[in-house]
Amino acid sequence: MDLETMLNEKQQQAVETTEGPVLVLAGAGSGKTRTLTYRVAYLIEQGVSPYNILTLTFTNKAAEDMKGKVEKLIGDLPSDLWLGTFHGICVRILSRHLEELGYNSNFVIYDRTESETLVEDIILSFNLDKEKYEVKKVYGIINKAKRKLWSKAELIEHYQDGEQEGDFYQNIADVYAKYNEVLKDNNAFDFNDLLGKTIELFEEKPEILADYQDRFEYILIDEYQDTSPAQYRLARLLAEKHNNIFVVGDDYQSIVRQ
């Protein structure tokens, strides 16, 4: 692989700085994907086992694109190279530790519509006023709480000065708790769970976390400017041991406020 002719000076530096944390501020159209793929290929060429490399992207399209390019560079795509979306990688991790989490192997993933239907059923079973506890609104709050990895108590605390009076938020917190309970009983994850449960697994089972920390000597993250607090937490946990975390992003293009 001839880096000198294929990459510009800065891209080359980004590819070759393999050790320690690296932040690549990549402007629009500056060859971000190119740099990422060359880095993966370079690491492998330097003798790093594909098994020890983890690459995280935001869309499947980006992941597939990158896989194709890596394959072109090194001939074969090693099956033990983990390159995928945050969600996809989390599913991969979760499906190996379902038992520890109290799930069985035939788990399902709920999409938004299904999550909302479940919230609706819970509101019904709690005999709450359908008008007051509008499904979309309740789901919105629950979704936010899950995204932020709040506990039931944290949800109540967060909304204690909210615009609704009485036991409104207390009731929503109850729906929230029930929602999570039912998901688990039904062997189901919603989208937020994919990240949330992975983090939970790592925080509650340090020995499992240690395995993955050992494994992923080199971590690469695309679109770092848009990582959520949960994604950030996950990245930090995984990178803690080897500290070889390479992130690419453009603060100019950050468009998801948390």
């Binding site: 969600h87 848009d226 100019y252 468009i255 998801v256």
Partner: protein, 406 residues
């Protein structure tokens, strides 16, 4: 955003490398977008440059109203395709909010320009796709009440939400182990599916309906048998599609909508085939799970169509020609972020606008209307502040006086 700004603090002794050479955009687009983003404070200093020539100037066009704006866009697309050696596939229309697509779509349809909305009602959000997925879920786990409720009345079986409601009420009162919410495999309680076996005792449900319920119950058992069989995933999908009467329902309907749904189901079938052939050890459960992990951009096809999408959905994409429509105060920047009084909110809008601009490699068009209909009333609009931030030397301004419809 904070994550990237704090990377240096979060990870000690980080190496920071800036990639500033832009290989995508022509010089004028870079100059214009650099100038816009330079108005933001909370960011790293960075300046994009390129070895590409400056290209055509960025076109800023003022239109009378939203119809005339759409007309202008259509006309320019025509020009690009006829004289500019571009194809429809090279063109993207970006807007700040989803609802802005409607007027554009009308004009596209009127002029027979093929288009595709990315992240709108995507493939996986379509009714028939959601329906077949629910059928498959029920086949795998008949206790899945959420999926069960979705399929009960498509196709029509003489059973509706009312019947289901009656059964649930009855079961809640009379069946001690009934639990509507949980239906995990290890769950010992009875679910809706179990109650359906015998509905003769349910208040308000006659013998005839009870028989229909029982028939549906047995139908589901057949689905389960298919899901547990050795058939390949596409065969399983196909069988369930036929056995359920879903396919026959569409055939019988014989309308454009129905034909369109059948095409989509066909697409779903080939999708399942591809999935199966990639790795034959995977089952129906894996297929459904992996479907859920796809995102908006993932179903963007490569057909020769103009792509329409919000700026958010355009992240990471690149097109030879980009139109940003509705570049007006209160639209872009969005009203909500204008009135908040928080400078961070305007900076967010500016970053969004920067993303929109830098999706373009060759041609960039920014359009706005002087007036537009909002909540049924005609409202005077003003060009966005972001337009004023673009240096004159890299842009040309145009006025489009289209004829108004109606």
């Amino acid at each position: 955003m904070e994550n990237i700004l704090n990377f240096n603090q979060d990870f000690k002794d980080a190496t920071v490398i800036k990639l500033e050479q832009n290989y995508r955009c022509k010089g004028n687009i870079i100059q214009a977008s650099n100038a816009v983003i330079a108005n933001n404070y909370s960011q790293f200093e960075k300046e994009a440059w390129t070895e590409r020539n400056s290209g055509k100037p960025v076109t800023i066009c003022e239109a009378e109203d939203e119809y005339s704006e759409a007309q202008y866009i259509v006309r320019e697309i025509d020009n690009l395709v006829k004289f500019g050696q571009h194809s429809y596939n090279d063109v993207a229309i970006l807007y700040r909010s989803n609802h802005q697509s409607r007027v554009l779509e009308d004009e596209f349809i009127r002029n027979q320009i093929p288009y595709y909305i990315v992240g709108g009602l995507g493939f996986y959000d379509r009714k028939e796709i959601k329906d077949i997925i629910s059928y498959l879920k029920v086949a795998i786990n008949p206790q899945d009440t959420i999926a069960l409720k979705r399929i009960v009345s498509t196709p029509k079986r003489g059973l509706g939400p009312k019947t289901i409601e009656k059964m649930i009420t009855h079961a809640q009162e009379h069946v001690p182990d009934f639990n509507l919410l949980t239906f995990g495999e290890d769950d010992q309680s009875l679910g809706l599916f179990d109650v359906m076996e015998d509905a003769t005792e349910v208040d308000g449900i006659g013998k005839k309906t009870a028989r229909k319920i029982k028939r549906f119950h047995d139908e589901i058992e057949e689905f389960t048998a298919i899901a547990n069989s050795d058939l390949s995933i596409p065969q399983q999908v196909n069988r369930i599609l036929k056995k359920s009467g879903y396919w026959a329902m569409l055939e019988l309907e014989d309308s454009d909508t129905a034909r369109n749904r059948m095409e989509n189901l066909d697409e779903f079938l080939s999708l399942s085939k591809n999935y199966y052939e990639k790795d034959k050890s995977r089952g129906l459960e894996d297929f459904l799970r992996d479907l859920r992990l796809l995102s908006d951009q993932d179903d963007m096809d490569e057909n020769n169509q103009v792509k329409m999408m919000t700026v958010h959905a355009a992240k990471g994409l690149e097109f030879p020609a980009v139109f940003v429509a509705g570049v007006e105060e209160e639209i872009f920047p969005h009203y909500r972020n204008m009135i908040s009084g928080d400078i961070e909110d305007i900076e967010e809008e500016r970053r969004l606008f920067y993303v929109a601009m830098t999706r373009a490699s060759e041609r960039l068009f920014l359009t706005y209307s002087k007036q537009r209909k909002k909540f049924g009333e005609i409202k005077e609009m003003m060009g966005s502040r972001f337009l004023d931030e673009i240096p004159i030397e890299c842009a040309i301004e145009k006025i489009h006086d289209g004829i108004r419809y109606k």
